[in-house]
């Protein structure tokens, strides 16, 4: 299995915070029509 080593703890913001920040930024871009509609 990949990723079976425990990740070392490091200082700085967590992965979660980066993910939340990116998602919120994307939500704002969509809300204020700064990016075209996203299709699937």
């Amino acid at each position: 299995m990949l990723n079976t080593q425990p990740a070392p703890s490091r200082p700085g913001p967590s992965l979660d915070l980066y993910a939340v920040a990116l998602a919120l930024l994307a939500a704002l871009l969509v809300r204020f029509n700064l990016i075209p509609p996203i299709k699937w």
């Binding site: 299995m1 990949l2 990723n3 079976t4 080593q5 425990p6 990740a7 070392p8 703890s9 490091r10 700085g12 967590s14 992965l15 979660d16 915070l17 980066y18 993910a19 939340v20 990116l22 998602a23 919120l24 994307a26 939500a27 969509v30 809300r31 509609p37 996203i38 299709k39 699937w40």
Partner: protein
């Protein structure tokens, strides 16, 4: 973009057991780290899009030729393609940092998925999930410890397996490891067992769900409560149906929210036995261990509930979430190395497997009960 050091593929190769199949090359500056992510991200995109392309092609062929063919979601194709690549040609090191971002896309996708839930639904289904998790937790933790004793596993390895299978897989084990001063080797064993069992559940859960004719909600709740790792729980739900995938994410997110409390309980237990550090500030400890993407999910759900987004915008956010999950599912297949299964000790795997089967049955019973009495 996330720095490579925030990803979960460690560059360390200290133990031969459960060694990561690929490792992160050391990058120095932010720019170099960002560039190092590109090949793996392209691979994730290519594998995920290939899965989507196969699904669309099969559906188009079946429609054009009036051939009845089951609609197999892109999720399965993306995972299978990833599995084939990882277990035949392998993943060259250059792709490692980018592939490791699959967990980042999972969390971003979950936050965006919040837009598809009204806050009332979140509280209703999330509340039911928490109630079922609390019942399942107490029974499954007890069962796992009895199993660990029966199979003569080291107590801390048993604790890690119990936390991983009862709460939330790899993240919970990583969160618990320093808190209970567990060995690297124990954590590697526990993570390997949980990932292997997660891979198996991807293929068994949808089959069982269809055999039992579970509704989307009941199946999604079951997958979210029983499948350990968040990526696998999301994939197992999505393999059943889009609606089931949504519910699985919600149930799993509720479960994730409990990580801190369980890890704290174990830390207090082990420190009371003089085998772990004493926790002085419990509130700070809980906040540190709390998965922050749960708050992002709730915030987006709240914004959607108060009408911050128009309908087309909600559709865009839902599609963005799907694209993020597409990268995640590709990563699930790419990071699964079946050869490593044979290199694990059989006892941790046996304890994990028996424990998982117990938890799957227990949660299935609870979901049936909740469906009947609490109206999912």
């Amino acid at each position: 973009m996330i720095p490579a050091h925030q990803t979960n593929i460690s560059s360390s190769k200290e133990t031969s057991i459960a060694t990561a199949a690929i490792a992160t090359p050391k990058a120095e500056s932010f720019g170099q780290r960002a560039v190092a992510l590109v090949p793996g991200l392209l691979l994730l995109g290519a594998v995920g899009y290939a899965g989507k392309f196969i699904e669309l092609s099969i559906n188009a062929y079946a429609k054009a030729h009036h051939t009845p063919f089951p609609d197999i979601e892109f999720v399965l194709w993306a995972i299978v393609i990833g599995l084939i690549i990882a277990n035949t040609v392998g993943i060259p090191r250059i792709f490692a940092p980018g592939v490791a971002t699959y967990e980042f896309w999972l969390k971003a996708g979950i936050v965006l998925l919040g837009s598809r839930f009204l806050l009332g639904d979140v509280l209703h289904l999330g509340g039911i999930s928490l109630l079922l998790v609390a019942i399942a937790l107490s029974l499954s933790l007890t069962f796992m410890h009895l199993l660990g004793r029966a199979f003569k596993l080291k107590p801390k390895l048993t604790s890690l397996l119990a936390i991983g299978s009862a709460i939330c897989g790899v993240s919970a084990i990583i969160a618990a490891k320093p808190s209970i001063d567990a060995d690297d080797e124990d954590a590697s064993y526990a993570i390997a067992a949980i990932l292997a069992l997660g891979a198996i559940s991807l293929f068994t859960f949808p089959l069982i769900g269809h055999a039992l004719h579970l509704s989307d909600k009941a199946y999604g709740l079951w997958a979210g409560l029983a499948v350990d790792n968040t990526a696998e729980a999301t994939a197992a739900g999505a393999l059943y149906s889009d609606a089931a995938g949504k519910v699985a994410v919600l149930a799993k997110t509720s479960r994730n929210a409990l990580i801190g409390f369980i890890v704290l309980a174990y830390a207090i237990y082990w420190s009371s036995r003089g085998q772990a550090q004493v926790i002085t500030n419990k509130a700070q400890f809980l906040w540190k261990k709390f998965p922050k993407f749960v708050l992002g999910f709730l915030l987006i759900s709240l914004l959607a509930t108060v009408g911050f987004f128009s309908k087309p915008q909600l559709a865009s956010l839902a599609n963005l979430s799907r694209w993020a999950f597409l990268l995640t599912f590709a990563g699930v297949g790419l990071r699964t190395n079946l050869r490593e299964l044979g290199r694990q000790g059989w006892r941790p795997f046996a304890v994990g497997a028996i424990g998982e089967a117990f938890i799957a049955l227990l949660t299935l019973g609870l979901v049936y009960g909740a469906d009947h009495y609490l109206k999912l």
